[in-house]
């Protein structure tokens, strides 16, 4: 009797812990919606999503979020373009070519890269990378979208490498042998059999990498220059959605349009992250079948 009661208690506790995270997500989303949607009582949604000027404290204020969305997109896209080829190559090297200590050292190194706090990377970007970029391209400032992309690429790499490596490891050993037995060189085996077979997993890895990058705040805020203008080139300062929220939340008057606008940006970010995660899930799911 006592034992059965105990079993039920443990079961329920575990179930409650499982539900907890879902409830928290729902609550966060509801709170975001409540605070963010309040903006549209005074500012039309088209002005918010389509406006090209973000002047939240001028008179009258302008809440055009387009420069921020584009800022995030440019930095993210740049980071992905830089990170994906390098990450896939290094995953291939770790899973197919490196053996023994080289493999272990690389895996540990990649994990360590993930463990570096983003503020430290931001600091390096500011102190080392930005001056180089300024000098290299002869710019008035080294704090540009490109600087952000490079730093963020470093942050996305561990995620992409380790998930890609898992996807490669999940490809049956027999495929490799079959391809080699048909006279493929190692590279032909990798490019024509291994990568296509691991493609769903690799796409999921890229999606999760994008998710990691688009949500990053501290490092980008430190290195992108934070100019809220529609970017025309990667060599110009941009401002991302995350950096805007982080920088302005402290100053915005609670209950003001500015405050609500920052929450509305949060909704946009949440929606993007949600879509990316859903896409990654879809790819991973596809892989299992």
């Amino acid at each position: 009797m006592w034992q059965r009661w105990r079993e039920r208690f443990i079961e329920k506790t575990i179930a409650a812990s499982g539900m907890f995270s879902i409830i928290v997500v729902i609550l966060i989303f509801l709170f975001l919606l409540k605070e963010g949607l309040a903006l549209f009582r005074t500012v039309p949604m088209t002005d918010f999503l389509g406006g090209d000027r973000w002047y939240p404290i001028s008179e009258p204020p302008r809440f055009g979020v387009l420069p921020l969305i584009l800022g995030s997109c440019v930095v993210t896209l740049g980071a992905i373009v830089l990170a994906v080829p390098v990450s896939i190559a290094s995953a291939l090297f770790i899973s197919e070519i490196a053996a023994g200590w080289a493999k272990d050292a690389l895996k540990t190194g990649i994990e360590l890269l993930a463990a570096i706090p983003s503020v430290v990377l931001g600091f390096l970007g500011m102190a080392v990378l930005a001056p180089w970029i300024k000098y290299l391209f002869q710019l008035p400032t080294g704090l540009t979208a490109l600087t952000g992309s490079i730093i963020l690429a470093l942050m996305a790499m561990p995620t992409i490498v380790s998930i890609t490596e898992d996807a490669l490891a999940a490809v049956p050993r027999g495929y490799r042998e079959a391809a080699l037995a048909l006279g493929a060189t190692r590279w032909q085996m990798m490019s024509r059999v291994l990568l296509p077979a691991a493609r769903p997993g690799i796409l999921a890895a890229v999606m999760l990498g994008i998710g990691r990058v688009i949500g990053e705040t501290m490092a980008v805020m430190m290195v992108t220059g934070n100019a809220a203008v529609i970017p025309r080139s990667v060599l110009q300062p941009v401002r991302t959605m995350t950096a805007t929220i982080a920088a302005e939340m402290g100053e915005a008057v609670r209950g003001s349009d500015h405050y609500f606008a920052l929450f509305a940006i949060g909704i946009v970010l949440f929606a993007i992250s949600f879509l990316l995660n859903a896409a990654a899930d879809l790819f991973l799911h596809q892989e299992r079948h």
Partner: protein
Amino acid sequence: MVSEAPAAVTMAAQQWSVWYGTVQALKSVTLDIRSREILGVIGPANSGKTSFLRSLNRMNDMNPAFRYEGKIALDRQDIYRELDGQTVRRRVGIVFALPLPLPMSIRENILYGPRLRGERNRARLEELVERSLKAASLWEEVRDRLDSSAMKLSGGQQQRLCIARTLAMEPDVVLFDEPCSGLDPISTAKVEETMVQLKAHYTLVLVTNNTKQAARVSDRVAFFLMGELIELGSTEVMFTAPRDRRTNDYITGRFG
């Protein structure tokens, strides 16, 4: 054996030894494989028969612990010293124990090897698909669905597709590594029939755990035990009057 007319030697192992790390898998094996014969290789588990087979087309190269001594020749060329791995594997095809079609269509599976080799001529590729599938006795069953996924075929069909895929490479020698171990008796019979037909054009080596299969399809049989070649002879002699007592014990089922 003496009465047989000497056929052209296609492959030859001379004092061939193999180690994986510190474990010796083959001990100084010397063995000729004749042109257009089926050489059956039998022996219990760990006898080295699969190591021997994989030595013949350098499939062991990917194993970092693999080490060898001795020589294996393909038409007098040393495959480990004079040829590179891809060239050897293009000339000496292998069919694995488990049917492993690549995750693509039937047609693409067949054309994978020829395309790697650089064949681009469409008519020639089409012809290769038909000819290889016919040679593997699979053409009639799949001719209407060449573009559907190879993963949808039955186990026996997949194995014959793997044979066809190997033949499309136009190899000189085809190795079979227990090709029927995962198949039902009817599929097994079809694969065996295919092998016997292939003998007209190819040299075949068949590693099998099924001594009866070796008796049914091979011309000569080699018996391996604990990494050594114990006895090699025509199938008839091996199964009726083996010289070595251990061969007799194995084929009569006293161990293994």
